[in-house]
Amino acid sequence: MLRRLTILSLLLLASCGGQGNSEIAVSDAWARPTKGQAPGAVYLTIENKGGDADRLTGAFTDHAAMAMVHQNEVVNGIAKMRMAGEINVPAYDKIEMTPGGTHIMLEGLRAPLKTGDDFDLVLKFRSSKDQTVKVTVRKPDDQ
């Protein structure tokens, strides 16, 4: 009886543990090379393997004064870049940041980004714990 209860409570604990636990995986983080004082843009893929939606609330790096999640859109032929606020990462889904869309802008880079360099970027989520990802500086795939 006691053993049964223990197993049951352990099972319950395990199912509870799924929520808020790290179900988020960040991959393929890269940035274009930059020159001079120009800001950089980081692109990456966030995958949510869990059954609960999560939200990307911010990004931080020691490599730049500020890291901001930005969204681009073209409205009536005009390219606009805006702060994106929080990015929703739906359950069992993924967010792919690609050139021309969403990116993490790095302003006030400590040094221009050179091809082959890498640096750490911390992503903060509403439920999941912080994710540290290594960003590699390279040219886009098709260039």
Binding site: R32, P33, G36
Partner: protein, 195 residues
């Protein structure tokens, strides 16, 4: 005799008037449809990445793709310029067309900034800047739009025309290239440009 002479003169006048009318009728529709497009572009003098004046006449002789952007633009501008470099290679190589980047942010982008930005693509790209007045004039010539937008933290971003202006080898405007259209359509446009 004088009567016949007068008649001939009158007929000649009628003939000239008719010919003039036909010519006008033939010309007016085509010229009016061309003016809207023909007014895009025109000669300009700006400043190159080396700090020296750059006369648009230097672009003559091969097609040119002209893009208005700014160097503090980390995503759309490098994406557009990298795409142009890639399309140009498909078209026949780095020599097939000039790629021109004109800043709409002359306040922050001097010759050094546009010069180094243009050097990011491992292929020839012409970076141009100028005084605020120069840039305003060229924007007007091309019908290009830009507007500074305050960003949190005191800096600013610039909203700007997303399309690229395609000019033929004589500096005549031919078409725009938009970021939404696929590479297939874009390449067709560029091929037509090179003819």
């Amino acid at each position: 005799m004088t009567n016949q002479r007068l008649r001939i003169i009158l007929w000649v006048l009628v003939g000239i008037a008719a010919l003039g009318g036909i010519l006008l009728a033939l010309r007016s529709p085509s010229s009016s449809s061309e003016t809207s497009v023909a007014t895009i572009g025109g000669p300009f003098i700006l400043t190159g990445g080396d700090g020296k004046p750059f006369n648009s006449a230097r672009l003559n002789g091969k097609p040119a793709a002209i893009f208005f952007g700014f160097t503090n633009c980390p995503d759309v501008c490098p994406t557009t310029l990298a795409r142009l470099v890639k399309l140009r290679r498909k078209l026949g190589g780095d020599d097939a067309m000039s790629i021109v980047f004109i800043t709409v942010d002359p306040e922050r982008d001097g010759p050094a900034e546009v010069g180094s930005y243009a050097g990011l693509f491992n292929a020839p790209v012409i970076g141009l800047t100028g005084s605020a007045t120069d840039i305003e004039r060229v924007k007007k010539q091309f019908g290009a739009f830009s507007q500074n937008v305050e960003q949190p933290g005191g800096s600013y971003s610039v909203d700007h025309t997303a399309s690229v202006f395609l000019m033929d080898k004589n500096g005549q405007f031919v078409a725009t290239l938009s970021p939404e259209e696929g590479d297939g359509v874009a390449l067709d446009k560029l091929k037509r440009l090179a003819v």
